[in-house]
Symmetry: C2
Subunit: 337 residues, 2 copies
């Protein structure tokens, strides 16, 4: 069906070896032969079978990016970052994006298939942990693995200073006179949760402690999917249960925080008078909602760019120091707190 190297060889009147060498621009082939063969390639519309090539080379020229789910602008921005300089940094590689669709078994399957089934030559994982066993297997096989927003001993990591960011957010609320500060945060206890939720919780706790406020576990509200609607639900819950908070640090990000703002308006809660809200991410909408959202800005695209750079460096055989690369966060004060 498809045109193979043999068809080209026959058409050009040479052996298939010669065709292969023309493709690889081997100096042993005369210019005349090259032209002849290239002509046949064009005429027959020949494209090498990627699978055969990868099989024999033992590498696929592909970088795999694994996301947990296409749930939020976070993924989008990181992917943008990875793409931004892709041609310059990783010209002859392809990117393949996989989603685990929130399934841990799938995650492991994908990671194993990539490693042992040779789907890709390197991996970038977003907000996900390969687990220690798989990490060791990757190291043994010498396949580069870079983690974004996740850290595990022995892995290459690019991340935000979530502890610092959460600290700043909480400190801001304290300094503006808030006493009962709740936190809305992603699931932080499961294996699948990624590191940032627990780090942000940690930063929140540290700030409370430094300012002599008591940490109250009842003021920790967790959400699962980082959806807008979960912010609405969280505030509904707080109001129904009559839980007393005068501020919410929405560590789960701006989209959820905006859900909180939305519910506040619907429930007649005035912001920031009755309730201060600080988000995380500084998405575009944060500046535009009413009241405008005070939030923490993180350089999301940079995470992607840096992760790709690390992967390429490792792929080129250079030693990459195993040391977390951490990006600073910035407090953006607007009207909501």
């Amino acid at each position: 069906m498809a045109v193979t190297i043999h068809d080209v060889a026959k058409h050009a009147g040479v052996s298939h070896t010669t065709v292969s060498w023309v493709i690889h621009d081997d100096p042993r082939i005369t210019e005349g032969t090259k032209i002849k063969v290239r002509n046949s390639i064009d005429k027959l519309n020949y494209h090498p079978n990627v699978n055969a090539r990868s099989l024999i080379r033992g590498k696929s020229n592909t970088i795999a990016v694994i996301v947990y789910f296409f749930s939020s602008i976070f993924e989008l921005e990181v992917l943008k970052g990875i793409e931004q300089y892709f041609d310059e940094i990783a010209g002859d590689y392809n990117v393949n994006i996989y989603s685990t669709r929130g399934n841990c078994k799938r995650k492991e399957k994908i990671l194993k298939e990539i490693l042992y089934g040779q789907r890709a030559d390197a991996v970038i994982m977003l907000s996900m942990n390969p687990g220690n066993d798989l990490l060791q297997e990757y190291r043994k096989e010498n396949v580069p693995l870079v983690l974004i927003e996740e850290s595990i001993k022995g892995a290459l990591t690019v991340k935000n200073d979530n502890i610092g960011g959460a600290y700043m957010a909480t400190e801001h609320l304290i300094k503006t006179g808030r006493k009962n500060i709740g936190i809305v945060v992603g699931e932080y206890e499961s294996d699948e949760s990624g590191l940032s939720p627990s780090e942000r919780l940690e930063g929140y706790k540290r700030a409370l402690e430094d300012y002599n406020l008591i940490f109250n576990p009842d003021l920790v509200f967790t959400i699962d999917n980082y959806y807008f609607e979960e912010g609405q639900v969280a505030l509904q819950f707080i109001l129904e249960k009559e839980i007393h908070v005068d501020a919410l640090f929405c560590a789960a990000g701006d989209t959820v925080a905006i859900g909180i703002l939305d519910q506040a308006r619907k429930s007649g809660i005035s912001i920031p008078e009755e309730l201060s809200v600080v988000g995380y991410d500084d998405i575009h909408a944060a500046a535009l909602v009413s009241p405008a959202l005070t939030t923490i800005r993180q350089p999301i695209e940079s995470l992607g760019i840096t992760a790709l750079e690390m992967v390429m460096k490792a792929l080129s055989g250079k030693k990459v120091a195993i040391k977390d690369i951490v990006f600073d966060q910035k407090l953006i004060v607007r009207s909501s707190a």
Copy 2:
């Protein structure tokens, strides 16, 4: 290096053929042998080489999704749709997501590599046109190709009723008394632009015509990347040049429309009194900005779900009627118009 089928065979004390058959659960193999072999597979942590398998099968069990760029929430939502029921609909397939990074040559290269290099067994394209030549090549090779938000004669298409949506938006502005209605729209003349911009422009024109307003080409403002900032720039341009408009239909989507709102606030233009704005998409932020954005809601996730269903149907050998599947749009009236 990696464990092959031969290693498993040796470990289990059978031939590699037997191992292959165990993997495929061939009824000719006795249960005892199967257990023995599966044990070895687990012990050695064996995973079949995907490339070898694809090579021999002549198919890769992969569906390729091609996006133009990870630029907007639109891509994110479509991907969400494709994922949503993936396990149910397309259990043993993988998805690979490619981005052309806005490069037409890359697009063609990807499409040819998929087709002739056997990267994937079917393709879903987002807001992109394969071009007639490539479409014919896909049809000849019988590789399913489904287009989202793009239509070309002879291709399977899933799209929004952009003409209808734009008509509704424009009609709403007309009925609320606006006379000088501009349109902000994505690049619609280049090959790479996708179909929706020109369709939305068409809907806009038709509404003007039906209500006896003259179409003025000077009131068509185009943008390239669907970025927030482009909305700001567009309004700045209009103000600087003192172009007289009392309404803008931002067919380029809500993110850009919100950029317009932002610039309006900065420039002291009151919305909707001095300028009415209607967006397109109904993203979450649309309801939350101030003033809340009047917009057109489109079922983006459904596009992805339906496209995947069509691909799977075609892949299963069933005839799929070549007839555009068109989703209805809905006008959501808020405060900005």
